[in-house]
Amino acid sequence: MGKSKLPLTETVYYILLSLIEPGHGYKIMQDIERLSQGQVRMAAGTMYGAIENLLKQKYICLVTSDDSRRKVYRITTEGMDILKQQMKRYQHMVSITEEILEG
């Protein structure tokens, strides 16, 4: 992601959110659809690439799965860290916007 790790893209944010609960690729895609209320959509090819990137950045990791065909992932502590950092940024942006709009 370059020098600055923030901001996270919306898709990455939702993937990390989804993987607080371990799951495989399709489960992540369903979660994203549900959590974003249909706003964010990930196609299969994009999903696979995003997972590979997040593994490389060590924001997610593999867990042992019963399903030999499907790999299962979960968020790492680094992933949790960056997720919370992004959340704080969003919170800040929302609060100053409200201040300015109501001020």
Partner: protein
């Protein structure tokens, strides 16, 4: 329906497959030609470029597509190109960035092969490639003059062009493909600079 088409450009192939899907043709088989079935319903076709280190990775990749309703029409662990089709409207990539990453992967593969070939052909390259004159096999061609020369020259020209294509075709093709990727790259980074939503 059988369609014979050759694509060097992965982006163009992807767009064409998508359009075929919009026109109601679903990809069923891919050999040297594309084989479609006609459908009254909305269908989608797609192509991805990716290679895998382990069978495990490949199975995981395929299952992600299968779970979202795609049929794997053609491809293997190391074939690179993976063809999919499904009922309904869908795409392999949902954003420009990941689509571009795919095109880049494909281009990198061609570039690697070009480099390997360049090393293999380094003797040729060092001597400035084969002099074009020597690719004309007509004996005594260059001693001829005027109309007789023109006739013999033009007669052999198409064959010489084929010979050039055979020997250097791969370089020419890879070079052109790489050029196109560089153009895409510059277009893409320009978009990113001006903050266009990717």
């Amino acid at each position: 329906m059988k369609v014979f088409k050759i694509f060097f450009d992965l982006e163009k192939e992807s767009n064409w497959l998508e359009k075929m899907g919009q026109d109601g043709y679903i990809l069923r088989r891919k050999g040297t030609s594309y084989y479609f079935d006609e459908s009254d319903e909305v269908v989608s076709n797609g192509v991805d470029y990716r290679t895998f280190k382990s069978r495990n990775d490949y199975e995981d990749y395929l299952s992600m597509f299968k779970d979202t309703g795609w049929d794997h029409v053609h491809g293997s662990k190391s074939s690179g190109k993976q063809y999919f089709s499904k009922q309904g409207r869908d795409t392999v990539y949902s954003d420009q960035d990941s689509l571009f990453q795919m095109v880049k992967r494909h281009a990198m593969y061609w570039m690697m092969i070009s480099i390997v070939l360049a090393i293999a052909f380094r003797g040729h390259i060092a001597t400035g490639f084969v002099p074009i004159k020597s690719l004309f096999f007509t004996p005594g061609l260059w001693e001829l003059e005027g109309l007789r020369f023109m006739r013999s020259f033009l007669f052999e020209l198409p064959f010489v062009l084929i010979r050039i294509l055979n020997i250097y075709g791969f370089f020419i093709f890879s070079g052109l493909y790489l050029l196109r990727v560089l153009v895409l790259l510059s277009k893409y980074t320009k978009k990113k600079k001006y903050g266009e939503e990717i």
